[in-house]
Symmetry: C2
Subunit: 187 residues, 2 copies
């Protein structure tokens, strides 16, 4: 079965987006500060991520991430034709067929993702989705890119969890302005 992973850029003070994230500014005010490193040097991205489209079997994201990102993605999926499952309450929008809207919770979304992902990685997008999967004990791996800044305010990656989650560090890397730490969740 493919591993379920969180892979996100975070400021040292724990934010993954600036304040006031919305469709016109999906990463919030000043939030691009956390993501510029991925675009500044393509070789850094390639070294860290390899062939992301080929290695990812499915993506699971929250509805807020979908709503705030779909303009940036030009109406398509974030990773070409990699299937995306969107946790949703409320009306399902017209969307590209790469998206499947899942209304019955994280375990259902995971089952659907696993059915198409084979042994490829299943990536989680969005802080709320990450938190729900962590709370349910469904995350296998985390890679956190700690960006050299205290953003001061915005959207936190890690909010309160119902239990402690022990981690084992599996890799440590550093590139210009960013420390990259990989963990395996200890069960």
């Amino acid at each position: 079965m493919g591993k379920v992973g969180i892979d996100m850029s975070m400021s040292l003070d724990g934010f993954i987006a600036g304040p006031n994230d919305r469709p016109e500014e999906g990463l919030g005010e000043g939030g691009m500060r956390l993501h510029n490193w991925m675009f500044d040097d393509r070789s850094v991205f390639d070294r860290l991520y390899g062939d992301l489209v080929k290695d990812t079997g499915a993506v699971i994201m929250g509805r807020r991430t979908y709503d705030n990102s779909i303009i940036d993605w030009g109406g398509k999926g974030p990773l070409e034709d990699v299937p995306c499952f969107v946790l949703t309450h409320g009306p399902v929008p017209d969307a590209d067929p790469v998206f499947t809207f899942v209304e019955d919770g994280v375990e259902s979304a995971l089952a659907k993702a696993q059915a198409v992902a084979g042994d490829k990685r299943i990536g989680l997008m969005g802080a709320d989705t990450a938190r729900q999967f962590l709370a349910a004990g469904l995350v296998d791996e985390l890679r956190i890119h700690i960006v050299n800044v205290l953003l001061g305010e915005g959207k936190r990656l890690f909010d309160v969890l119902p239990r402690r989650v022990e981690l084992e560090q599996t890799d440590l890397d550093s590139t210009d302005g960013v420390v990259h730490i990989s963990y395996r969740v200890v069960r």
Copy 2:
């Protein structure tokens, strides 16, 4: 002038103590999880900290840190006879003469600390004190020990700040279960 530094152990989800920190359990419930690494292997501590008493010219801490730690410290200062300045509102307790209680804010505490520290390091203790000094632009260095755990709840090191603080990574180290990142504050 001595550098003003924050040096703290933090869970990956940003906590420096568990919930319900109080004098009988200064690090909160489960909070020792974040600090055990310092006691598990004395050689790790010595390599990272060197001679902390000799190198530290003064300590500035919040009143909550004082109240929650003074039992553990046996009524003495945390670093032998290194002078400690305690930011305080309200009644000043009877205390060991290593402690000076400062009632007129962070800049006054810093001036008093600088007057005794010479060119030695001034260490900040406690999340609230760290935040106040960061907000006032008075911090020179941070070293954060990121412990391999999501604690889930507790006291956050970094709360909301009134402005973005850019950092430059100056060192990166890793020991069993902990990643140690040093930063210089960019002004």
